[in-house]
Amino acid sequence: MNWDAALPLLVLASSLLPGLVIFFLTEERVATRTTLNLAGAVLKLMLVGVMIWGVFHGAHYETRLPLLPGLDLLLRADSLSMLFVVLSSILWLVTTVYAVGYLEGSPNRSRFFGFFSLCVTATVGVALAGNLITFVLFYELLTLATYPLIVHRGTDEARRAGRTYLVYTIAGGTLLLVGTVWLYTLSGTLEFTARGFLSGLDATHHWSLVVIFVLLVAGLGVKAALIPLHGWLPQAMVAPAPVSALLHAVAVVKAGAFGIVRVVYDVYGMQFSASLGVTLPLAIVAAATIIYGSMRALFQDDLKRRLAFSTVSQVAYIVLGIAIAGPIAAVGGLVHLVHQGVMKITLFFCAGNLAETLGIHKVSEMNGVGRRMPWTMTAFTVGVFGMIGVPPLAGFISKWYLGLGALDVGQGWVIFILAGSSLLNAAYFLPILYAAWFKAPAGTWPAERSFGRRETAWALLAPPLVTAFLTLALGLLASAPFGLLQWARFITRLEYAP
Amino acid sequence: MTERGKKQLPFRLLLVALLFVLTAGLGYAVLTLPSQAPGLSNPVVANLEASGVSNPVTAVLLNFRAYDTLLELGVLLLALFGVWSLAAVPECRESPPGPVLDGLSRLLVPWLILVAGYLLWAGAHAPGGAFQAGSVLAAAGVLLLLTGWRLDTRFSGLPLRMSLVAGLGVFVVVAVVLILMGGRLLEYPPSFAGALILLIEAAATLSIGMTLAALFLGARPEAGP
């Protein structure tokens, strides 16, 4: 088990082992639990750093464990997986700090952090999966690890939300499983290869390949919250803020979108799926989701549900980027995978702060909150402008490339979708900013907790500021030598050989 | 015919029809069997003298298929465990035995024990053997129990259990000893196969007699460690 084979496993174990240990810690052992959590997060970040450096220089990291006769549990660090691994490890560190602050004094924290680490392990597993069966394995593990977090509070409402979540995700998982097994019986292998491994199959299978594609995308679409499979996301907002922030805005939703990228790129291959004619319907579904998500967000009074519906529409950008069979749009989609994660997590952190410090859950209660919590609201504003796509911020980059890519391939109608959704974003975000900064506060806050001189605990304040700064940095330094754009172009060059 | 029966009449008729079809099928299957089939009688006769006994049935029971008999003793003992664990009904104190029962048992019990001994000995070369002798012994035991005789509480503990388990115990011990001496499971050396079989049969007769009598009694003796 030399170093190249051990690294992916170590990255996985860096969150799995602390998680298992935390399960057995009693409630009072706060110090040990926090140190374990943070140590795990930092260790994972360092390992990922080493891995990125290696992959950039062409090193080949691969862990292969026999799972079934003829099928292996394969963890491989290729350029596409690094994108998602980096995103989830950075955000896990930030969210752990936030969660420690947010759950101060609440019960069952050992159980919470145990499952929290399991979730991240599953997400990293999804990212590093080298073949479809490993992907399915970690994909289902993600469902099992997130369910206890949704029903963490133990209220009946939480249990109902959990049940809806399960109905959707278990059904999705089953579709994915059936598709994978059927694909395996046809293709004989499930290993991800750069331009897909299905183009070689003879024409008689094409019809079943289309059906398999529908099965796979439907299974993944549940977690990617494509309509009509998005129902569980708004209801899952009943979970504590760190869960909504990392999992339902980043980890779980991205796993679905990342899965669709994998299937289209490394299972079917871009050209082959275009020739099968499955990419256009996918693009239409993605576009419909973008518009539908934004429309529903308009009418949500609860802040977290509005953010949830905005996530539904934002994730569909990634799918749209992939579905428009063009290299430039693909770059836009891949880049948005990271940007949307960073921006959305900022907004959820701020929503969590407002709920925790002032007891604000409704948008209507946010009048004049800017004066009371200036730092949180600045982070919120940066996030909102990023979402709308205001130039210097990250959001603008991805929308720009998506638009450019669409024109380059002659899919003009996508421009209208992008423009329309930006307008809708503005329509449901700007009133919040206006109310927060310019309206007078309505007297007392619902459940105010004073934190002395500072507006709220530092553990709750630092994370949103960090992620807001990241949004800004990603926007400004997009085309820097080691920047995200260059990385995305490197991936697409593999997929789109002339 | 209870009123419940009338309600189920159609169900019973259907059942009768089904069972009639089953009987016809099985009957036809039995009739199509080859009319002349020696089965395993030739190999048994061929190996008879190597088995240490001359009665073919005892040879099969205690040598060729001794493994079945070992398990079967296990089944008998298991039934006793079950009956004792259920301890359904405390021993019912029958009324004191009438003169007829008393006289009969006083005459018959010794005679039955003698017949059991004979059957055990005759098993080697004539119809008889462990099970038949054991059941005759059990008959003597049942007769004794009916007259209200009970085992002395001193013996109803470990000694009773030892004797109940004797048959199976001896069988297992003999098997282990034979393996240690290099043979296979229950592979008697031809020279003293007959003696070994007799030893096993004697222990088995004692245990079967005691077990069957205990099963008749149906309840665990109160005292006893």
């Binding site: - | 009987t23 039995v30 080859p34 099969v60 060729f64 008998l76 259920l86 359904a88 009904v89 099963l215």
Partner: protein
């Protein structure tokens, strides 16, 4: 139609008779009797077919099997009777409650 086959057919008849009684009668003691009759039927088939060759000594292996079977049958009956008394003591009825087919 040598005697062997006649007794074999009687054995099959006993088997089915016992099966009918087992299904129809509710009282547990009757069910146990039915099981014993079925067992005797099977044993009759086993031994009867062993005596098919006229004149020659019958095949001893089925005889050994039947003796084993008889001892197994008696131990099963003893357990069943003890269990029936226990059911009687616990539920007050010597029959199993009508279990709706679930």
């Amino acid at each position: 139609m040598s005697p062997a086959f006649l007794y074999a057919l009687v054995g099959v008849g006993l088997f089915t008779l016992g099966l009918y009684a087992l299904i129809v009668h509710a009282h547990l003691l009757r069910k146990i009797l039915a099981i014993n009759v079925m067992a005797s039927g099977v044993f009759l088939v086993l031994v009867a077919l062993a005596a098919r060759t006229q004149g020659a000594a019958p095949d001893p292996v089925p005889h050994a099997m039947v003796i084993t079977g008889i001892v197994v049958a008696v131990s099963a009956t003893a357990l069943a009777l003890a269990l029936m008394l226990r059911v009687r003591a616990e539920t007050g009825r010597a029959e199993l409650a009508e279990e709706p087919l679930e």
